[in-house]
């Protein structure tokens, strides 16, 4: 009974958790380890599932706690993870594609340098599209703090693009 529920409802969330972990810990193997640990932890709590109101938020919280445990014990400043972005680009000519590639790369590097709370908030909102209330529940902060983190993160990206725009203008 539990195995079926796990297979149908929890295991399909693995990609979301992986992306979330990868946003904070920029190492594929470590992010995968975190998701694996989280899955096992969730499985071991299977007898409590019936009392959980929002299973996805609960699972996210388990992942978040494991991520936070890791980042407290390690320094990730020197590690970077490069996403293969070409599949998401549909630029028509090599020059445009090169420019977009460069800008995407800049965004990626900028986000990597943001504080963990801002990165986590941007990941959950801008990539996963979660509502503010759920992000607040996952990160165990208030909705206003969520908006604040998001505002600061977006502001840095906006500033980056303003610099690029100014640089590109004749």
């Amino acid at each position: 009974m539990y195995q079926t529920a796990f297979k149908n409802n929890i295991l399909p969330l693995k990609d979301k958790f992986f992306r979330f972990a990868l946003r904070i810990v920029p190492n594929v193997n470590e992010a995968e380890d975190i998701v694996q640990d989280a899955m096992l932890k969730i499985w071991n709590k299977r007898e409590e599932w019936a009392g959980i109101e929002n299973m996805e938020a609960y699972c996210y919280r388990v992942v978040k706690n494991l991520i936070w445990d890791r980042i407290q014990s390690k320094d990730y400043q020197n590690e970077t993870y490069e996403v293969q972005l070409h599949d998401g680009l549909e630029a028509q000519n090599p020059y445009t594609r090169m420019v977009e590639d460069e800008q995407v790369h800049l965004i990626h590097r900028l986000i990597e340098k943001l504080p963990a709370a801002q990165k986590a908030t941007m990941q959950l909102r801008d990539i996963e599209g979660l509502p503010y209330a759920e992000i607040a529940e996952i990160l165990n902060i208030s909705e206003s703090q969520v908006k604040n983190n998001l505002f600061r993160g977006r502001k840095k990206i906006k500033q980056l693009f303003e610099k690029i725009d100014n640089y590109e203008r004749p």
């Binding site: 693995k14 992986f18 992306r19 972005l85 630029a91 977009e100 800008q103 990206i157 906006k158």
Partner: protein, 170 residues
């Protein structure tokens, strides 16, 4: 959606005032290659980046690994359950052994306190009893005689005490 509406949405996006639906509209708008106004082209990279990030995922081997680990965990849990059952059975068996041993000990102890026949021949037993009763009777007689002697001595002493003070007064 015209350029003016997009401009408004972009401003709302920077201020974190966009709804999830509006953010989806922006992603959709910027993921197309045509009809993007020149001044908005630099922003395309942001939404392309977000879209590309959403495609990051784990492979199917991860599912198999997790399901295998879960089966192992369940096997361990079953073993733990059976081990605890064995321990319970052992405890009950030990209790039975202790209760049995105590019962045997008590019954054995009870047997030692019961009386058993000393003589098989009733006449011999009667002779011994008569002899014992006669000895007790003789001892009692001796005791009585000594008591009578002691009482007569005491009487004499009393008489002496009663006579002596009167003689001294006179």
């Amino acid at each position: 959606m015209n350029a003016r509406e997009i401009d408004i949405l972009v401003e709302k996006y920077w201020d974190c005032d966009t709804s999830r639906e509006e953010e989806c509209l922006l992603k959709e708008f910027f993921s197309q290659t045509e009809e993007i106004p020149d001044h908005l082209i630099p922003l395309k990279s942001i939404f392309v980046y977000q879209k590309a990030q959403f495609d990051v995922c784990l492979n199917e081997a991860f599912d198999k690994k997790i399901l295998s680990l879960i089966s192992q965990e369940e096997g361990k849990a079953k073993k733990e359950v059976s081990l605890s059952q064995v321990m319970k059975i052992a405890a009950v068996a030990l209790l039975c052994v202790i209760v049995g041993a105590v019962t045997v000990y008590l019954s054995a102890h009870k047997n030692t306190t019961t009386y058993s026949d000393t003589y098989k021949n009733p006449q011999e037993a009667m002779f011994v009893i008569r002899h014992a009763v006669s000895a007790v009777g003789n001892n009692l007689q001796e005791g009585r005689q000594e008591s009578v002697n002691a009482i007569s001595t005491l009487n004499k002493f009393n008489e002496y005490i009663q006579i002596s003070p009167k003689a001294n007064i006179k």
